[in-house]
Symmetry: C2
């Protein structure tokens, strides 16, 4: 099955908007056994949209477009595609009522031209929009005039805003695809997420053991992201489930302690999930990560139940006043030291009244390094009902990468402590 | 001038990697007067790469590819393109030496196949890599066998990692392009960044006044991002500078108080820049934004000089203990209230010993709302050497958007206070 993606929007070509649709849609489809073979972005002009959609229709069984379904003058995708396919636009009464209700329920005036979004190409299936006004549209192009032999294709138009597109994709499009163009053989995909190990080190550890799975049809992929590596295990056919299960077992036996979760789970979600289940809490003392760790943890719904308090203490005074770090420790070892990380972690635990405390102190750069403690040096402490753990890392990256990697390492140290795997210090 | 971008990488098609190159490269080129007319992403297969590059060469004056120049087995772009153009690969001695030196300087063993990156298609210009090993390559395809009439094109191959691609793009590619294919007429582009105003409201405010500039050739664009709107003013030709300067003046006269900066400056950079120049400091007390504001401000190099301390105080106890919020205020008005935001801002200022203090309390959701204070309700306080300001907002968004928008509003309130524009309360 050939799938192509067409993202429309002049703002994409001017570099004003980051195209998050590509990754999100490709991932959703790939993990369901439908790999996108080509993605293209073009501006909102009649010629560019027509040309790219026609080209994709000439090759693909499924063409998905994003953007250009709204009410403003640059929302032209619906109109151009309907014209290209010779499908007149007709008002869809149910969509008309939904749009009307959308504004009424929010006590907002209906903007001019809102009802243009209720115009639907003849024969299209409407994908309702639960978070906005423009519905998605799915058209069975049969016969497909652009394809050799006229073999049919499906053309799906989705709205641009991610908060509208994503629920529509999950709730309406996936069920539709499963009905009208089911994946032709069983497909199983599992992603294991590892942290605290590099991509090549991970590959060296697992690849030899996985050789027989690969010979049996395992699709094996590694993807390094900031501070973590994903291992993607996929297989097709009647043995797919068995092959993936065996590969999963092998990977865990080789690098089990590095695996924090599965699928799309972020390590901050793991932390909040585990602490919530254990009815335990966490206090944070951050210096060089400047709130990055608190921000990541509080992105998870329910974080307020596990995180009573956090501190961002850049200055030595704040470290002493807020966390009780000793001035002798600061004088003797310096703010970036094992001792200060320990006292910050323990101070956060005491002051927050929490089960655990994390303390982070280091040099994010670009300035501030020394030969003994170069830029990127960081100490992370984890305090809890066990002897406080402190680890030293070297993360010589740009500032934002440093913060991301360091907060990842801190969460991983806590995760291991929670599992009791590393509590001996 | 027609420019096309080809991003190669199977990980893009599997949705494992976010394609940040598209936005970054499109923006760099557009702001220099070269708008990309088409971007395509394809997997690392010979057929997909050849097909897409050939297609782009058949249309474009400049084709830029990203990815596939490294030393591993899936780095195939250089080889396939060289073969397609009939350009044998030859070892480039300077690049060979650079790669060798790269590893020697880092005291790291040279990985197997590292020197494959020194293989350069005949006649290609080498774009040195100051942050990695794989150089970029620029080839003048003249005559261009894929283009009607054989008109020449430039084909540029860039490495995949952003930290290698970006400096190479700025330091080597832009000067090369300016030399071999200068923009044919003067081009001026300026972006004004506004916050605290919606896209359609902004458009209504500025569009009528800009009409005569648009008639004189102004390219006018709006781009709404989370919590802010960019206004892009561009023009071509001998009058470009005058047209953009006049448009700039008109926009500022209409919505001047909303404009916090220009170009790519984020509002957190504005805050750090202004506070640094004034030798003033800031303390932060965050509840519902959970460290998002501290994280954003500390993304800016030099933030440690202006931010002595910040608190994340979810629990009422932490608000009282860390910031001195009164228990009567919490009892009488609730944690999400004007009074508590005020006391948090003032407490942060006192406890941090800073010139200004920000206090934020609200309901990020998804749970916790009430009819009187629905999910998304937030109070922001700004304390300083003036009567404390408090504003109420309603940000009924998903959790991460809520945090982003709210921290934006808090910084905007501080920015206005710093400008003395809003100190009357």
């Amino acid at each position: 099955m050939i799938v192509e993606l067409v993202n429309t929007g002049t703002e994409l070509m001017l570099g004003r908007t980051l195209n998050t649709h590509q990754q999100w849609i490709c991932r959703q489809l790939a993990d369901a056994g439908r790999v996108v073979s080509r993605q293209v972005a073009v501006p909102d002009t009649a010629e560019a949209i027509r040309h790219s959609v026609r080209e994709s229709l000439s090759r693909a069984d499924l063409v998905i477009t994003t953007g250009g379904l709204g009410p403003t003058s640059d929302d032209v995708t619906r109109e151009f595609i309907a014209a290209m396919l010779g499908r007149p636009l007709r008002e869809d009464l149910e969509t008309f009522a939904r749009i009307h209700h959308y504004f009424a329920a929010r006590q907002r005036a209906e903007p001019p031209h809102a009802q243009v979004q209720a115009m639907v190409p003849e024969g299209a299936i409407v994908l309702p929009n639960s978070c906005g006004t423009a519905p998605g549209l799915a058209i069975e192009v049969d016969p497909n005039p652009f394809r050799p032999g006229g073999a049919k294709s499906w053309l799906v138009m989705l709205p641009g805003p991610p908060r509208e597109l994503r629920p529509m994709f999950r709730e309406s499009l996936i069920p539709l695809l499963n009905r009208v163009m089911p994946v032709d053989e069983p497909f199983v995909c599992r992603t294991l997420r590892a942290t605290g190990i590099g991509e090549s080190q991970l590959e060296q550890a697992v690849a030899p053991g996985l050789k027989r799975c690969v010979d049996a049809g395992l699709e094996l992929g590694y993807c390094a992201r900031i501070g973590q590596v994903d291992v993607r295990l996929a297989a097709r056919g009647s043995e797919a489930g068995t092959v993936v299960a065996e590969a999963d077992k092998i990977v865990r036996s080789c690098i089990g302690t590095h695996i924090y979760g599965e699928g799309e789970e972020e390590i901050e979600e793991t932390i909040v999930r585990v602490l919530t289940a254990r009815k335990e809490t966490l206090g944070l003392a951050e210096s060089c990560t400047g709130g990055c760790l608190a921000n990541r943890i509080t992105n998870v719904p329910g974080a307020s139940q596990v995180l009573p308090a956090g501190w961002v203490t850049y200055s030595n005074e704040a470290k002493q006043l807020c966390l009780g770090v000793k001035s002798e420790s600061l004088d003797r070892f310096g703010a970036v030291s094992e001792e200060v990380a320990r006292e910050m972690a323990e101070g956060a635990r005491v002051k927050a009244g929490s089960t655990y405390g994390i303390g982070i102190t280091g040099i994010a750069g670009p300035g501030g390094g020394s030969p003994e403690k170069p830029v990127g040096t960081v100490f992370v402490g984890v305090a809890g009902p066990f002897p406080t753990l402190v680890r030293r890392y070297l993360n010589p990256f740009d500032r934002e990468t440093f913060k991301q990697v360091t907060s990842q390492q801190a969460m991983d140290l806590l995760r291991r402590a929670l599992q009791g795997a590393d509590t001996a210090g």
